[in-house]
Symmetry: C2
Subunit: 343 residues, 2 copies
């Protein structure tokens, strides 16, 4: 069915090498032979065998991207951006889902799919501090996340602490004092959850306030359902609140939904802030104030760093563990609007 270079060579009356030269845009080929080859290619409908090329070249032209769940808006939007950035560099992206489960995150590092890709962009969320040694892998990898977990692995971080702090300060600036914290994290974890919580507590402390644990709604999985459940948990305790800081946007959206069920209005009764700036947050009712963590920059930078390692050859095989922290921006929207003074 499918033809090979040999077939093309035969038809064009040249050698296989010449066909290869034409296909790979080798500069030194006479125009006449080039057209001869190209017409033969066209005539046979020849397409390169990727497996053979990979075997010979020792590289596949594919990058892996490991994320918790593709259906979480943050990660689907990130994936979109990574795919686009990789495409610009001539790479194809293979997405793997870890489910946010530690075991599966570790599996990703040893997966059979590692042999199908030239490098990995890895966004772990369930790894513990003790897992750091396991990240000392032999293949090119770029981590998405903060340094805490890993030492020598290059990574692209978001300003989790500073972003959450800015978000909290914004709530404080609008006069809110009884802020609920929605979403929790593995106590042994070192992911975004603990860092954002840190930023939250920092802002409170700086304002001379303390966080009442009764205002924390737990939920390790970060989706709308757990956001709603966590909010319900806090409300059921009968503790007063005038604001909510959710550890990410979907948690915030779930929490808003729950506030609504309880007859509380946002932002009049309760102000709400999220983290991630997913597209949905611009269209929710009310629209959600959130931290834009610089996701496009993160995607682009991660791909660039990885491709650089790939093309650098043996030279910079073990760099100094480069770190880039993306710039964040607080997107103020309706969910934290000041209560109308004339009331």
């Amino acid at each position: 069915m499918s033809s090979t270079m040999r077939d093309v060579a035969r038809l064009a009356g040249v050698s296989v090498k010449t066909v290869s030269n034409v296909v790979n845009h080798f500069p030194h080929v006479s125009p006449t032979t080039r057209t001869k080859v190209l017409t033969a290619i066209d005539q046979l409908g020849y397409q390169m065998n990727h497996a053979a090329r990979s075997l010979s070249l020792g590289r596949t032209g594919m990058l892996a991207l490991a994320v918790p769940e593709l259906r979480l808006p943050y990660f689907s939007e990130l994936s979109d951006e990574v795919i686009a950035a990789a495409q610009d560099r001539g790479y194809t992206v293979l997405i793997e889902q870890t489910g946010g489960v530690r075991e599966r995150e570790l599996e990703v590092l040893a997966s059979e799919r590692r042999r199908m890709t030239d490098g990995l962009i890895f966004s772990p969320v369930a790894l513990r501090a003790g897992d750091a040694p396991l990240l000392e892998v032999s293949f090119p990898m770029v981590l998405l996340g903060e340094r805490s977990l890993h030492s020598r692995v290059p990574h692209v971080a978001m300003a989790n602490v500073a972003g959450a702090r800015a978000a909290t300060e914004h709530l404080l600036a609008t006069g809110r004092r009884r802020i609920a914290l929605i979403g929790s994290f593995d106590a042994e974890g070192v992911g975004a959850g603990s860092l954002r919580t840190q930023g939250f507590l920092d802002a409170l402390a700086a304002a001379g306030l303390e966080h009442d644990p009764a205002r924390t709604g737990s939920g390790v999985e970060w989706n709308r359902a757990t956001g709603a459940a966590a909010m319900r948990q806090v409300l059921s305790r009968g503790v007063e609140i005038d604001a909510v800081l959710a550890l990410n946007d979907v948690l915030a959206l779930g929490a808003m939904r729950e506030l609504f069920e309880h007859g509380l209005s946002v932002p009049q009764d309760v102000a709400v802030v999220g983290f991630d700036d997913i597209e949905e947050s611009r269209f929710s009712r009310p629209s959600l104030t959130t931290v834009e963590p610089g996701r496009p920059q993160i995607a682009r930078t991660a791909v660039e760093m990885l491709v650089e390692r790939l093309t650098a050859g043996e030279s910079a095989a073990q760099g100094p563990g480069q770190e880039v922290v993306a710039e964040f921006r607080l997107e103020v929207r309706e969910s934290t609007a000041l209560p109308t003074p004339a009331r």
Copy 2:
């Protein structure tokens, strides 16, 4: 760096073929040699070279999934389900984005990535009726969409007409008569847009009603922003409406947002129905009545049909163009609740 089967064979004192037998779980290997080989593999940290295996086998173990945009919730949720179904069958999924642009949809069929995958699950949205011949490709493919476009290509369809009709009938049953249609489609297209619109018009006709074109809000791209814009368009015309049928959920969510901006309440003033049943629709405010098109079944069936073609060998290479239509279900939620009688 990475070791080969030869290295393993040498260390274990056996032949390459034996190592291959062990790795591929070939039944006839003596327990002693198996353990010898396995320890050698373990000791060397051997991992199979996927490119070499693909070259030899003539198959890659990868399936391609081409969707418009990964960041559209419907497609990210679909992708998740396709990946899971493929994994169960031992396949890896490569996602391609077409942007919903006809040219890029056609490119997918000739893409270099076709040579990296064993088959394609293709969800076209911008192809025209005249493009049907271009879908007569030589590689295994399963289409997501209705038959209109393609004759001999196997495909998995959703009940676009019936679903939209049921949704519209639901609106009519709750006493709504002035229904706006949000979202439009390429007039030459044969995709979900025209079919859902057909179902909408069918239901109206069956009820002896006619659709006022002034109640159609156009928007070829289906996202929140266009949903809001289309709604704005209708409202600006000053035509009365008491309900909205949006061609999908994100359009509906954008439209609801716009209704809110105009001081209209859902469902009291205007009832709203979407199509797709994305997770967000269960948590929006109000929660969105929508058509659940059987997406999980679609994902599973598409993978099964494709894998079947792949493993059937030459035998059923050209089947009769199998068609499966998934079962839909109308999810009634708050956005179409009956106005409280006591008003």
